[in-house]
Symmetry: C2
Subunit: 281 residues, 2 copies
């Protein structure tokens, strides 16, 4: 049985009850349209804590004016079934007014890892993410919160935010779930036609080739330029970026440091992102 | 006996111990240079909670480049004596590096009540305040935190911040303490010469006349202009603002609503602020 809270008051009442019993709490923030990737994060939270809270909130403040806020997939009944099957204890499904009541006036901005990559193409994205994640983390007051490595830059920004503001919740990254051909699971995959799906599945293969070449000694800029061309040849409409970065700071990758290759590319009106570790030699 | 914590780790260890005993915690953030006004906030926190934490941290991020960060009064030994005498349980005295370690990159910005007044003259002030207060509130995780009404706009900004980010600490305003002639107590009064002190003591008298005139029906703009002139005639070097505002939003005051008259003025190199309630008729 998965309970539901629509307000912060209901949420906190439920969590206070658990706290009085001495139970620990794990938290998975989502925008709904749940797939196996989300469920793997719920499973990770359940390994780390006694109780698992999942929020479903499509945050208007992280969408740009021309982005897909209106058509972002919403399927609450199906999501609730998946959460129940996964053993989620509480779904927190606040309204936009509950999160941003009239007169709301605060913004959280994170520098450091938010610079470049997504920010070059979605300039207000991380302010929107940092503000809503600050709120959610403080509403839930969990022992740990799990974010997917699929949104790798977002994970780095949230780690920075949590450290900088002293938010007393441990931030945990969950590995990216992929389909049988390696396509990173994403709610936005639902937008893809069958043909586009075939093209989308080349992205991880191209990034793996780049990461492997970089690990083998190829110049990272050159490897990323080749990957960019390969993504175009595979049938993507355009490429926002392919970049090799340090795993923690997202500064440009330096040899022998933990690194990641990150990319964003468009298939028609659908924007996909993915990233892979640069393997240690 | 007042214990001391220099790091967030030490602070949280002490507070966790209290929480295990079921004790409630009150918090008073300060920049040190403690006077009777601060001590009244400590006393208020001790009325509200079982344990009282006072932080002493001169926050560089709320001072502008030409402001008085370097000469801001620092007197830790005397402050500790005062805190001990007042029954403070824990003094939190972090270093700048503890609060802002290398790589720190997050900023909290509050709109709404931060607009105008102080912001017109200290444009980065409230970003610095909002960021450090967010950190302090989350480091301490108190049940309540007490801020002085002397810094009235700051109190409104912190209430907004706390509400917007769902910080689970009740924000309490403590009344302004005044000397026998009504001068609002302030650490910056220490900068004043004997002559300047005489002039400073006229500020509250002039604001009281304005607030009383507005309550009696005088046009608030006209009353504020008169007060501005009176402050100049009293010997202040210049006036940053005198304004009549609504008590909660700090929007321009409307008849029959709770209101405040707020002012900032200079005496030589010393900037003083004060504010008074517009009495209800």
């Amino acid at each position: 049985m998965t309970a539901t809270a629509r307000t912060v008051r209901e949420l906190r009442a439920m969590i206070s009850g658990w706290r009085r019993e001495g139970l620990t709490v794990g938290f998975v923030p989502t925008m709904g349209a749940l797939h196996d990737g989300h469920i793997s994060l719920v499973e990770l939270a359940l390994q780390k804590a006694d109780r698992c809270v999942v929020s479903i909130f499509v945050n208007p403040r992280q969408f740009g004016p021309t982005e897909d806020l209106d058509k972002y997939p919403r399927q609450l009944a199906a999501d609730m079934e998946r959460l129940k099957a996964a053993g989620t204890h509480l779904a927190f499904t606040p309204s936009v007014d509950e999160m941003y009541p009239a007169g709301f006036a605060t913004k959280v901005s994170v520098g450091g890892p938010s610079q470049g990559l997504e920010t070059d193409f979605r300039p207000h994205f991380f302010d929107g993410v940092a503000t809503v994640v600050s709120k959610l983390l403080l509403q839930v007051s969990a022992d740990c919160a799990v974010f997917g490595e699929k949104d790798y830059q977002q994970l780095c920004v949230i780690r920075q935010l949590s450290r900088d503001l002293d938010i007393p919740t441990e931030i945990i990254g969950g590995p990216t779930m992929r389909d049988s051909e390696g396509l990173a699971m994403s709610s936005r995959n639902a937008y893809l036609s069958v043909d586009e799906l075939g093209i989308a599945r080349t992205l991880n293969v191209i990034l793996l080739a780049a990461a492997t070449a970089i690990a083998a000694g190829e110049d990272p800029d050159s490897a990323c330029i080749k990957a960019r061309s390969a993504i175009g040849r595979a049938g993507f409409s355009s490429v926002d970026y392919v970049a090799a970065r340090e795993s923690d700071t997202l500064a440009p990758w330096q040899k022998n440091r933990p690194g990641r290759v990150l990319a964003a590319a468009w298939l028609g009106k659908t924007r996909l992102i993915d990233n892979l570790e640069i393997p240690a030699i």
